[in-house]
Symmetry: C2
Subunit: 455 residues, 2 copies
């Protein structure tokens, strides 16, 4: 049974990924800060044998358009590491992946918290390493402007080296804890990092034993050239947003093709695009469900989204059910602005029609259909070189996840495309990723061999 | 029943506070990274109605003397906030107090994590604000030297203002979540901090709703003049180490006396010295238990402790059961060095005898006795102006805490000195601390009154 299988992440977000999910008649509108809600979601995903749950993060309130923001459930939520730590106590198998920015944290703290979570959970921690793209976050960290893109990634690369170096502070068998002799650990198996780089100086060692996974799983989600390159060097999982099979295939080929340069095998990295599934027993039911959610988008929210996508033009003074006006040229996103305008003209769309086209899945692949048709699409992407798995972004929660677990997962299992039992006890084992050996233990055994050869 | 009662904290640490606790025959030597161990401890403390559990922290391996460090269980442990978050899921009433340094973190991250923990736990979070005194920690945070003492406290004060300001970002009733109208929060009840100070610039707002406690409880443990002054301005609980009743009374008078200057009432601050209790059915049994632990101190560990206390002289080359040599003068801690030498001469102590005198409770009050005699002492300190409560530092865990819960707590309850049921649902309510009103709500109601007066 070594057939390649799909990996699944449950990308959780408050009441769901649809911007109006909180207004769904069955939604628990205050779910964003309700631990019981997340405990339920994590347990649903675990019963369905998902590899991991995943939380995105922003270190600040990103949107400054209050009229729109105040009509969404996006302004406040749990900090992901505290939330995942609590969830570790109410789950046993599922991975726990949190986003933490390299731009607004210290590497020692990040190394420590993920090592701690990995110990708490028996080897289920994953770190989504992001560099954070928003200016508003930078303003919460004594910066007038965010670091430039290239600098962000340069810092991220050094940050990664420090964190993984700290994770190797202790060899796996350093702790002997011999009550008789009084020796708690073997000092020869404790290593000081002594990192002095361009952006950070970190002495070490880490004050947490080596993690059950050796290193927590490193995830990335950067789409730029710098992001892809960093991922090729370091990431074990990539989360990504694609609209079409071709786009996904091209990204997959590109990034997997970069691995050999860094001595890595294509299987060392799992690529998992986001999927926004709307599930019905029939296509009509799925369409109706989607329309019902779409109808809940408040025009202020829809118009604001559209304005941002159209490069920052203000559309709020035009009638929402009137035609899309000729947009004044702006500096931001000219080509996207042109695309939107062409689409509106071609199909004779109103402002409302147009924002409904873009408001759903935030750039991710939106799939509205039956469990069979959704499974077909996942299978196609998986088999035709576009994905190793998927990050499931349920439109509303818990409903959408319940349906995915009840109908799509069994369909994938019937096709032999998804596990029916967890393969291992750690996230790494379930994802099929090797456990990184401790660099100092490798040296030690190399030295021992050299001595043996010499002797 | 408004009789003043003792507050109790359970200061948890790996296998216990005694330096050799991990070698105790019943100790679980690997407890430091075993979540089940801490879950058990938290539940024992909660059944006994303790106000809070508490974790100290250092952001690094503090001790650089490897020979000694490798014979203790102090080099590795959970990061406190991840651990407390997990513990929030397996407890319901007890407070969750974690140490986080203002020197090696960003205020936005700290505000957010504690607000998140407060939501996770339904209002049970406490923050032990420390400035961190060790150089070795600074070396993990791109600093060649730690900030000077005065600067540390200046930064801490600004840090506190930012964190509490961020905790007031949202008024308590900001979230209306009206599905019908589509309004999720009232924009007038969201406030941007716009802090621009000497050390930090933090725009805000926080991306977490106001905490159940308004603000998580702020704890401090700084003993210097600057530490006392910061505590008088800001702390709601003080953890402190005293050896004698007189010392404790003088500290208590001093700090409580400073409160009025900041418009605070003496009851707004609870002073909780650390107590290291060794409990026996008889005095002899207690003494024997203590001696048994003392006998487990490895000479390398004892001599290293003594060397440090004696200002850094190296005693490792002298026979441990021989006399204490005449110590060469050093720069560090001359007066303590003299005290130790005088004690050794007066009582004719060997090196081993001397380190055993200082190795127990790390400067905290050591009480070896029966439940009655221990309760007597707590009662005396509580009634004679030395303490509002105590931070219980069990010599070994879980044993010492089990005994305290089984024998000392009921004795205090019989005397009417300790609760038999939690008074409230939040840490603040149990400690008898008022919930801080939101500063913007105060302004709002002041404005409303001014308008009414004018009208
Ligand atoms: C599924 C997914 C999740 C993401 N989560 C986050 C996140 O939580 N926080 C964040 O700052 N960026 C997040 N991003 C954005 C990326 O990290 C990255 O900033 C963005 O793709 C732009 O790429 P670039 O920085 O390489 O230009 C996410 C992207 C994807 C596809
Ligand atoms: C019970 C107690 C717990 C403490 N916990 C910590 C801690 O976890 N981390 C830390 O850096 N300092 C801790 N301290 C030390 C104080 O915060 C402080 O640094 C020390 O008392 C020196 O005081 P000063 O900084 O005002 O000179 C603790 C002190 C006491 C009494």
């Amino acid at each position: 049974m070594s057939q390649r299988q799909i990996k699944l992440g449950a990308f959780l977000m408050e009441t769901g990924h649809h911007i109006a999910a909180w207004r769904h008649p069955h939604a628990h509108a205050a779910a964003g800060l309700d631990f019981a809600h997340y405990a339920e979601l994590a347990q649903i995903a675990e019963r369905a044998k998902f590899d991991t749950i995943f939380f995105a993060d922003s270190v600040g309130v990103r949107d400054t358009d209050l009229a729109s923001l105040s009509r969404t459930a996006r302004a406040d939520h749990f900090e992901p590491l505290t939330l995942l730590s609590a969830l570790s106590a109410v789950t046993r198998h599922i991975g726990l992946t949190a986003t933490v920015s390299t731009s607004f944290n210290e590497p020692y703290n990040v190394a420590r918290k993920f090592a701690s979570l990995d110990h708490l959970s028996g080897g289920r921690a994953g770190w989504n390493l992001v560099t954070s793209s928003s200016e508003t976050e930078a303003h919460n960290f004594s910066l007038d402007r965010h670091f430039d893109h290239a600098l962000r990634y340069e810092r991220a690369r050094e940050f990664y080296d420090i964190v993984t170096g700290l994770w190797d502070s202790w060899e796996d068998d350093a702790f002997v804890r011999d009550k008789e002799s009084g020796l708690y650990f073997d000092p020869a198996k404790l290593h000081t990092l002594n990192h002095r780089g361009k952006h950070f100086k970190v002495k070490g060692p880490l004050n947490v034993a080596r993690a059950p996974q050796g290193w927590p799983v490193v995830v990335q989600a950067g789409a730029s050239e710098a992001g892809r390159e960093l991922a090729a060097q370091t990431a074990e999982v990539i989360f990504v947003a694609h609209q079409t099979l071709e786009e996904a295939q091209s990204f997959y080929r590109d990034v997997k093709g970069r691995l050999a340069r860094y001595g890595r095998h294509p299987d060392d990295l799992k690529i998992m695009p986001g999927i926004f599934p709307v599930i019905g027993r029939t296509q009509e039911e799925a369409d109706e469900k989607f329309e019902a959610l779409q109808a809940l988008i408040h025009p202020v929210v829809g118009v604001s989204l559209l304005s941002k996508m159209a490069g920052g033009v203000d559309l709020s003074s035009y009638p929402v059910d009137g035609p899309v006006p000729d947009l004044p040229e702006t500096n931001g996103g000219k080509s996207r602005q042109r695309l939107l305008l062409d689409l509106a003209r071609r199909e004779n769309l109103t402002i409302r029609d147009l924002y409904l086209r873009i408001a759903g899945a935030r750039g991710h692949q939106q799939v509205v259909g039956t469990p069979q048709s959704i499974a077909d699409q996942l299978q196609q992407w998986f088999e035709e070189g576009a994905a190793d798995g998927f990050n499931i972004m349920s439109p509303w929660l818990p409903g959408g996840l319940v349906e995915f677990a009840a109908h799509v997962v069994p369909e994938l299992q019937r096709r032999g495309l998804f596990r029916t039992e967890y393969e291992g006890t750690t996230l790494r084992q379930n994802l099929g990723l090797r456990r990184p050996p401790n660099r100092h233990a490798i040296e030690r055994s190399a030295n021992a061999h050299a001595l043996a050869d010499a002797g």
